[in-house]
Subunit: 209 residues, 2 copies
Amino acid sequence: MEVTIIGTGNMARGIATRLLAGGHEVTLLGHEAGKGGALAGELDGYVGSGTAGDPIEGEVVVLAVPYEAAAPLVQEYGDGLSGKTVVDITNLVDWQSFDGLVTPSDSSAAEEIQKAAPEGVSVVKAWNTNFAGTLVEGGVAGQPLDVFVAGDEAGAKESVIDLVESGGSRVIDAGPLRRACEQERLGFLGMTLQQPLGLGFQSAWKLVS
Amino acid sequence: MEVTIIGTGNMARGIATRLLAGGHEVTLLGHEAGKGGALAGELDGYVGSGTAGDPIEGEVVVLAVPYEAAAPLVQEYGDGLSGKTVVDITNLVDWQSFDGLVTPSDSSAAEEIQKAAPEGVSVVKAWNTNFAGTLVEGGVAGQPLDVFVAGDEAGAKESVIDLVESGGSRVIDAGPLRRACEQERLGFLGMTLQQPLGLGFQSAWKLVS
């Protein structure tokens, strides 16, 4: 599959690593010229680069940027995203207090991005409960990662599920996009536990059975 | 430790099993006369019984009842709970839609029960992400359970942590009682995944590192 990742930070690196491991073609778009290319140069596989604002080639677009940048990107691209699957990976943490999310309480970052998106765009929530380093590694403690995926449009969700599974992770289909609300709380809870438990962002949520 | 469990359902059975395995003294109070005794008769260890409304002997009281019954119980007992630790295990699921919680969105069942409680009562959130059968078993897939514990009063939380650990589970200290909000979302998410994934309430959340 052809996937565009907007962002060149740790999460972009982690997700790109897994997608490339799955044999997919990845284009990294940085906010500053050259940043996408710099990250691409460090990765192995079918990886290209460009600058945010470039036309989107991939059928799936991962917004590997903070929420504050994600919603405007969707609006700026507008119809350039039509027919595409947009993956939201954000947790809208209240960084002032680190004591909760600032998402509207009856909604989620993913649902807000869906509202901001032009018609024909399907937003899928994924990777928001995973830490960048564990995505680069492809696992934790010798076990594959669980990646929670929520979305309303079956085809879009299926594409993301394929991407996740081909990169060696296990998908937990959390259901409709509304479940992003729970996924984001799970992501936040995981973040709060890193410092007190000394986990160094090397942990993962697993649903064991 | 001396622990009183109010309730005689599956969760009461699961939690009592773990507490008794940890060598604690458990009193089961049923809503109907005889029910506590019936469950007690099926369990091994230092286990007694009585009826809801009986004086609370335990320093820790587990409300193993639905939320709708838990808050009134706290108010009915009133000063009879003074100085005690009250454990809330509920997830306030919207059973009509099974599409979310009906908890006030800036709060949690545990915080609401704390508000309803008389002064001197410390509410701790625990076991709400665990299923009854896994508590009876004491693990899932050969691994001990992770039990998330949130509370504001250090001594009360420490008592619950001791109870959980002595029964062979791993405690994840989720922080202040406010984190019950995230714990309850986690509990709900786990419930929604049972039927689609065919897990039969034999799964457990683990934070792997």
